[in-house]
Amino acid sequence: MKIHLPNSAFIGNIDPFLKNIDFSDNQKLEITANQNWIAVHPVVLSMVAALGFPVKPKNIICKTLTAKSAHYLQRMGLFKFLGTESGINVEEHEPAGRFIPLTQIKNSEELSYFIKEIIPLLHLQPFQVDPIRYVVSELVRNVIEHAASQTGAIVSAQYYKKSNRIAIGIVDTGLGIKKTINQSYVANTHLEAIRLALIPGITGTTKREGGTEYNAGAGLFFIKTIAKVNHDFFMIYSGNALYKLLKTGSSKLHADPFDDNHSKSDSLPLWNGTVVGVDISLSETKEFSELLDLIRDVYSKTIKERRKARYKKPKFI
């Protein structure tokens, strides 16, 4: 496998980075990077870590990183995660409380510990922490429950002071959304599977309205909504498909993610598993309670419409 870290890869401009990943020969991983500058979203680092984790450290080749900003990869724990040496001497530039380094979460207990002990290290206000722990909890639980990923979820986050936003990346190398959704619904493509997974009330565990006693199929819809109402980026990459919620467009909530202002692609290299990246603007975070009102409205309407669509029509002869 080959992965190249460009000078810039955030959710808004991540597509070329994804297109250039080479997944051939999964016994080896070659990491190269822009020689002058590397500035990447945590989701990119989570992806590199997830790809490299099963590879023997001796089979991971990391080209000498010359970019001035390469120490960031070291601070985020990438080389420690991969079991390789970077040759970079870290200068302590980043003050504490700006990032959550790459962390592997394999089960419910580790997730609870992460939420209780690690997220507070970001030193944010309670109203800012609510959406972050919500997003992390729901996404990582999806991985634990549905992905069957041997490496669990690989999580990392970064706070950007200038834009006052937090960027979160949660990645797994499990079944992927299509296989999970296909257990209950027909999705012929990875993109269609992502679309279904984002619609409230649709879960791979059952076709029954209301879900099972354990799953409702609402988690991803909630997270997309948090991003949408705050005009933040949100992306899901699974199989060969990418869905990206764009920052622009109205705040009106839609049950169908394709009705939101978005970009999509279904011709990317095949990612076995699921990659989720989300940005949360902390200065513009809409009150969580307002957001819940919106969700309640849309959720109810969606279920009513879905029930109505199943009504049998009377035959008039």
């Binding site: 419910s108 209780k116 309670p126 729901e138 354990y214």
Partner: protein
């Protein structure tokens, strides 16, 4: 009357679905089936996820119908926790 303190089980952020399911199966359902009313006490809970609340109460509505909501009281919920509960009770009743 059975009173269940949620904070003691999950801390201030109610997100652990495994614990929610345990509370439902081991505490709420036996109480309901023996004819008791249940108070779910959310004192000191700052926030809860929809998944937690779903695992806690959805199957009660599915098994016993929406009349079960006459037997359960949700105590000391903040505004957000109340709204999460309402989302779950709404979609479960609409799905019945």
């Amino acid at each position: 009357m059975k009173i269940i303190n949620i904070f003691r089980r999950v801390g201030s952020f109610a997100e652990n679905k495994d614990i929610a399911r345990d509370i439902r199966i081991k505490e709420i359902m036996p109480a309901i089936e023996s004819g008791k009313n249940v108070i779910l006490d959310f004192s000191n809970i700052d926030a809860a996820t929809q998944s937690f609340m779903h695992a806690l109460i959805s199957d009660l509505i599915r098994k016993y119908g929406n009349e079960i909501l006459d037997q359960i009281n949700f105590k000391s919920c903040n505004e957000n926790v109340q709204k999460i509960i309402m989302i779950v009770t709404d979609y479960m009743q609409e799905g019945i």
